[in-house]
Symmetry: C2
């Protein structure tokens, strides 16, 4: 099987490493709109060859789209004349608008996927082996996929050691707002809260594991995350309002020194980890 | 040197392990108001002996107070008749009220310390080796400490592999509000945001590293954290207001689709990691 990867950053680069490690591709072709990414990906040996999008379309059995979500929407029309046998799998963090943007002519070829993995780093140099192993991948609206394409995507993700969860795109986007997009917004807001203080260096000198964990997501690429927030705007705003309400509850309880109610509020939060 | 530890949970238990590992104590005596903690600490071999507070006062060269911050304030008066040669070191997460609560008779004996370390777990079974190594410890208002006591505390923390930072108690509490107490409040609020949804299990099934990091602090003991929020109420409320304002900025930018400004807001947050 020849596999093409559009986007040679963290997600695409790591995917190339794992596809090769699991013997899933005879040859991996990579495409990126950035010349620097192409050069680095080749130097690091992430892909066998860098090629044009046309090369990928002409020669690959599977094409992965590992680019920011607005990029996926912009690119899909360019794949509208693809061979009916070619499978297209996107790895975008939002799904509803992407599914809607897929040209009807290739809807059967297209398997919308969201692997629940990543790091706060980006670019080809951020690529790491094992990024996908043991992680969850959400496949959306698969009833609209051609049987052979769905099966091919499932086989690849399973071979990468992933656990597949099925969901419709709308449900995915709502859940992703809470589990991924809201935490990113919070982490950026926390970082900016400290940076806005008189002497952030003195404060950050005291940072231990807790703060580092909470601010890690604030390293994430603004280019990528503006796009995600744009595409999942309504769900994210809803999740942010819910969070703001919880925060307001805590502020009120602390202001009014209602310590027993604050304790109950915290106790409720600790039950999360019985589920997680 | 004989060392006494009041409070045999995560902080006290881990301290016992590290004091022994570094050969800093001939004998470690432990006291806890919970019979169960005393029993477990003895079974796990964290301390050489469990004893009464009176035994610790009578026989130890150094007494560590590794209990919740309200407990430290309640306990300090009971140490007012301690031998002038005995050093008392607390490990509380707030400092100003604790320093004020120290009876003048033993102010020279008392070294207020805050080791910037911990985990989200609690109790003697949570004790781990190496919890203090390579971490920062803040010593507060040391100009009011007796020279020998300050030196003794510094020697112990250095021998544990810690880096000492000096600060006055008021400054410590303000910084700790941003670097530790606010992140805890946020983590509890995030956990409650998800738990308040219709089907938290379906959402949490998608949790990856980012969400796990952001919700980890929400496992922390409400008993301990209500006390900390109580003692650092004004600073914490100030930090929470600053954070709420950042969150509101993000919400407004997303609502009004001002994507370039959102990108700048995110870019600013990413600069945190040039300092951290």
């Amino acid at each position: 099987m020849q596999i093409g990867i559009v986007g040679l950053g963290l997600m695409g680069g790591s995917l190339a490493l794992d596809l090769r490690r699991h013997g899933l591709a005879q040859k991996i072709l990579g495409f990126d709109k950035s010349d620097e990414h192409k050069k680095t990906a080749k130097e690091l040996g992430l892909v066998d060859e860098v090629a044009t999008l046309e090369d990928l379309k002409r020669t690959c059995d599977v094409i992965f789209l590992a680019i920011p979500v607005e990029g996926i929407i912009a690119l899909l029309p360019q794949l509208a004349d693809i061979d009916p046998k070619t499978t297209i799998i996107d790895l975008g963090s939002t799904k509803e608008r992407i599914v809607k943007a897929c040209p009807p002519a290739i809807r059967k070829n297209f398997v919308p996927a969201h692997p629940m993995t990543g790091t706060e780093h980006s670019g080809p140099k951020a690529a790491v082996e094992g990024l996908y192993e043991g992680k969850i991948v959400v496949l959306c609206d698969v009833e609209q996929c051609g049987e052979e394409h769905r099966k091919r995507a499932e086989d690849i993700f399973k071979a990468l050691g992933m656990q597949i969860v099925y969901m419709d795109a709308a449900e995915h986007d709502l859940h992703a707002a809470y589990i991924s997009h809201l935490p990113h917004a919070i982490s950026y807001a926390l970082a900016n809260s400290v940076l806005g203080q008189e002497d952030p260096k003195a404060i950050l000198a005291l940072a231990a594991g807790g703060f580092r964990d909470m601010s890690r997501l604030a390293k994430s690429s603004p280019d990528m995350w503006v796009d995600i927030f744009k595409q999942n705007r309504e769900n994210l705003l809803e999740a942010m309002e819910v969070f703001k309400k919880e925060l307001r509850t805590a502020i009120t309880l602390i202001e009014e020194q209602r310590w027993e109610e604050l304790r109950s509020w915290m106790e409720r939060a600790t039950t999360l980890h019985k589920i997680l």
